[in-house]
Amino acid sequence: MKRLEKKHPLAIRWFHWTNFPVLAIMIWSGTLIYWANDIYRIGFGDKTLLKFYPDSFYKAFNIDGRLAEGMAWHFVFMWFFFINGLLYVLYTIFSGEWRLLVPDRKSFKEAIQVTLYDFHLSKYKPPQDKYNGAQKIAYTSIIIMGIGSLITGLAIYKPVQWGWVTWLCGGYTSARVIHFILTIGYVLFFLIHLVQVILAGWNNFRAMVVGFDVVENKENISTPEHTETGPES
C-alpha cells in the first residue's frame, strides 16, 4: 500500500522555481557584461587550456556588443534574485526547515558515502533524513554562494560608496574574479543537479512540483531492509 507524504512546502517550491528563470537571466546578462572585458582563462603561463569564452560561444549565444543591455537586465534582476533568496532564507529559518538543510558533523562522512554509492564504488547507502549529507552540503553551499554573489556583486557595483564591502572581497579585481567563479559554480551545480534529478526519477522531481512523495506505507517499511536504507529522496 502506498501513501502520500508531504515533502517540499509550497513556499520552498515557489522560491525554487522562481530562482530558476531569475538566475538564468542573471547568468545570461552577466555574460553580456563579462564580454566587454573577457580576460579570464584557465592555463599555465602562456599556455591557455580554456578561454572564457571562446568566440564560438559568443557567436552561439549572440553575446557580442551588448554591454549596456546586459547591465540593464543585470541591475533589474538583481532585485528579484536578492528578494527571492532572502525570502527563502527567512522561510527556512522561521519554519525550522533549516534543520533538515544545514549539514552537521555526520554530513561530511555521509556525503562521501553517498558519493561512493552514487558512483557504484560502494554498496552501502547511509540512512538519511529528508536530505542526505551530500544534499545538505550542496543545498547549504548554494545559499552561501548566493550570498557571496550578492556581496561581491555589490563590491563591483558600488566600489566607492560600499568601499568597505569591496575591501572585504580583497579589492575590486578580486571581487570580480570571485563573482565570476561563483557564476561558473552555479552552472556546474545546475548540471550536477540536473543529472541527479534525472537519476532520482519522476517521484522525486514531482515532489518539487506538487510537494508530496508517493511512499510505501509504514507497515511495509518496517522490514529490516527498509529500516536500514531509509526512504529514497
Partner: protein, 322 residues
C-alpha cells in the same frame, strides 16, 4: 496546490494506526527531525493486531483507497505541472513583453524605469565622505590605457585651446585660459580608474579640484557667490561638460562634480597631460566610471536641467556612479 475538496472521504489506512496530524488528508506531516519518528523494529510487535476478518475488510478498503489515491495523485500532478508550466510561460511572456516595449535612450522602457529607480536608491547611500581608495604613486600605470577617441578630433591644436564656461541663470560665456586654472592650488590623486567595460588601472593625476575652481570663480550657484554649505538650495543641480567639437559630452549630478576627488586635470604621472589623454585639460571623476572622465574639456555649463550625456543615450544608466 492543495485542493480542499480532496480532503474529505479519502482516508489512508495508515491513518488508523497513526496517532495524529492527519488533518490534511493524504499528507503525513513529516516531523522536523525525522529521527524523532519512532521506527518500528521487526519483532517489536504490531500495535494493532489483525484478525483474519479485519484483514479482508482492510484489503477491500485498500483497493478502493488505492484507486482513489491514484486518481488524486494524477490530479494533483496535472495541476502542479500546469501551474509550473504556466509560471514559466508567464515568465517568457514577460520577457517578450519587455523586449517589445519602445526604447528610452536605447534601453527598453521597463528596464530604464528600474535603472532610474536604482539611481534613486544609490543616492540614499551616497556620501561625500566616501572616497575612492587611493594608492601610492609607485603603483601607478606608466602608460594608462587610452580607451576612446570620441571628441578627440586630430586637427585640434592645444595652443589654441580655451575653456568656455556658462554659469547657471547666466547667458554670458566666461572664457578661461590655462593660467586661470593653474593658479589655483594643485591637487594630486592616485586611484584605481574603473572602466564600465570592467577593467581598472591604478593611475596618477594632477590638477585643480573642481570645487576649488567653482568656489574661486563663483560658479554653480544661483546667487553667483561661493558655495555656502548652509544654503545648498542655491546650487545648480547639474554640471555639463563637452569636448570642443561637442562630439562627446557628459553630465554630472552636482554632488559628484563637487566631490573632493573630482579634478580638472592637466597632469598625468607628474607630466603635462598627453595629447591622447585629453590635453590640455580633462576631467577625472573617481566616484564614476571612466565614461564620465571626459577628455579635452571645451565647455562647462551649470544647469538645473539634466545635461545631455553621450553614454546615457547609448543605453547606459545616467549616473554611472561607483
Amino acid at each position: 496546490m492543495n485542493d480542499p475538496e480532496e480532503k474529505e472521504g479519502n482516508k489512508v489506512p495508515g491513518d488508523n494506526t497513526n496517532e495524529s496530524g492527519h488533518s490534511e488528508g493524504f499528507y503525513e506531516t513529516r516531523p522536523d527531525n525525522a529521527s524523532d519518528e519512532p521506527v518500528q523494529q521487526p519483532g517489536s510487535g504490531n500495535p494493532i493486531p489483525e484478525t483474519p476478518q479485519e484483514q479482508i475488510v482492510e484489503e477491500a478498503d485498500d483497493n478502493a483507497d488505492e484507486l482513489a489515491m491514484k486518481n488524486a495523485v494524477r490530479r494533483k500532478t496535472i495541476i502542479g505541472l500546469s501551474v509550473l508550466l504556466g509560471m514559466l510561460i508567464l515568465f517568457v511572456l514577460g520577457f517578450a513583453w519587455v523586449i517589445n516595449q519602445p526604447k528610452d535612450q536605447k534601453a527598453y522602457r521597463p528596464l530604464r524605469k528600474v535603472m532610474d529607480f536604482n539611481v534613486k536608491v544609490n543616492k540614499q547611500f551616497y556620501k561625500e565622505s566616501h572616497l575612492a581608495a587611493t594608492y601610492p604613486v609607485s603603483k601607478a600605470e606608466k602608460n594608462p590605457r587610452v580607451n576612446g577617441d570620441l571628441g578627440m578630433d586630430t586637427s585640434f591644436k592645444v595652443e589654441d585651446w580655451q575653456l568656455y564656461v556658462v554659469n547657471v541663470d547666466c547667458h554670458d560665456t566666461l572664457v578661461f585660459n590655462m593660467d586661470s586654472i593653474k593658479k589655483l592650488p594643485k591637487t594630486e590623486i592616485c586611484f584605481n580608474f574603473k572602466c564600465i567595460e570592467g577593467w581598472s588601472q591604478v593611475t596618477y593625476w594632477g590638477g585643480v579640484r573642481f570645487i576649488d575652481f567653482v568656489n574661486h570663480y563663483h560658479l554653480a550657484t544661483h546667487n553667483h557667490k561661493p558655495i555656502n554649505p548652509d544654503y545648498v538650495d542655491e546650487l545648480a543641480r547639474y554640471a555639463g561638460f563637452q569636448t570642443p567639437d561637442n562630439e562627446y559630452y557628459v553630465g554630472l549630478d552636482i554632488a559628484s562634480a563637487l566631490h573632493p576627488q573630482t579634478l580638472l586635470c592637466y597632469e598625468m604621472n607628474g607630466k603635462p597631460l598627453p595629447y591622447d589623454q585629453g590635453a590640455p585639460l580633462r576631467l577625472i571623476v573617481p566616484v564614476k566610471y571612466g565614461i564620465k572622465s571626459l577628455k579635452r574639456i571645451g565647455v562647462i555649463f551649470f544647469s538645473d536641467k539634466r545635461p545631455a550625456d553621450y553614454w546615457y543615450e547609448q543605453g547606459y544608466d545616467y549616473d554611472a556612479a561607483l
